[in-house]
Subunit: 120 residues, 2 copies
């Protein structure tokens, strides 16, 4: 309950660091060493350390660690089913969309809020 950053505004680096710390807290609360957790997850201790330290790793390694910590159910909860957001499903025709279609007029049409950013 110390490093509770604001995930809504934090940078990807900050988020990854927060995720790493949280995972580390969980690991420690269960008194599992990086070595053992790494072995269970199928990654190296180096990768475990990198995750703990907030450095980015591959999504695959991340998922493996989540699995090793028995947190896969949380991974499932990570992504909401589009169906539960009716407002997003308003399809022009109502059919299942397989491709996005845009009247390449103005990029700001589908309003991402307001940021016209590009590379940060």
């Amino acid at each position: 309950m110390k490093h509770n950053i604001d995930f809504s505004t934090a940078s990807s680096e900050a988020i990854i660091e927060a995720l790493g710390k949280r995972l580390d807290e969980i690991r420690l609360s269960r008194n599992i060493s990086q070595f053992d957790l790494a072995r269970e997850a199928g990654v190296s201790r180096s990768t475990m350390t990198r995750l703990s330290c907030g450095r980015t790793i591959s999504l695959d390694s991340f998922v493996r660690v989540m699995q090793a910590l028995r947190l896969t159910d949380h991974l499932a909860a990570l992504l909401p089913d589009p169906a539960v957001r009716p407002v997003d499903r308003v399809r022009i025709g109502g059919a299942e969309r397989r491709r996005a279609r845009k009247r390449r007029a103005e990029p700001s049409e589908w309003a991402w809020g307001d940021e016209g950013e590009n590379g940060a």
Copy 2:
């Protein structure tokens, strides 16, 4: 709504594929092209395609896409605070643990089979 795999037993590859598909569904439900989403996320379209196709990408790229889709709050919900699991916090002395300590005897001690370590 169709590919609802069991995150508890699925392989990391299957999980990543599921995550990719789900993210793609969300993207399409909002009628956003891979190109535009990639641009917003700060990654290349190649990476976006790989994610959609279920191939692994870096955790950093993944988080960026989540941010672009305004799903960071779900990322926060991804990791439970250890404090909410009292059973996991039973520290030998009660202090804050900074390192795991194990009587490197048998790895099966802390039971990953069914984690009945602390007798709940």
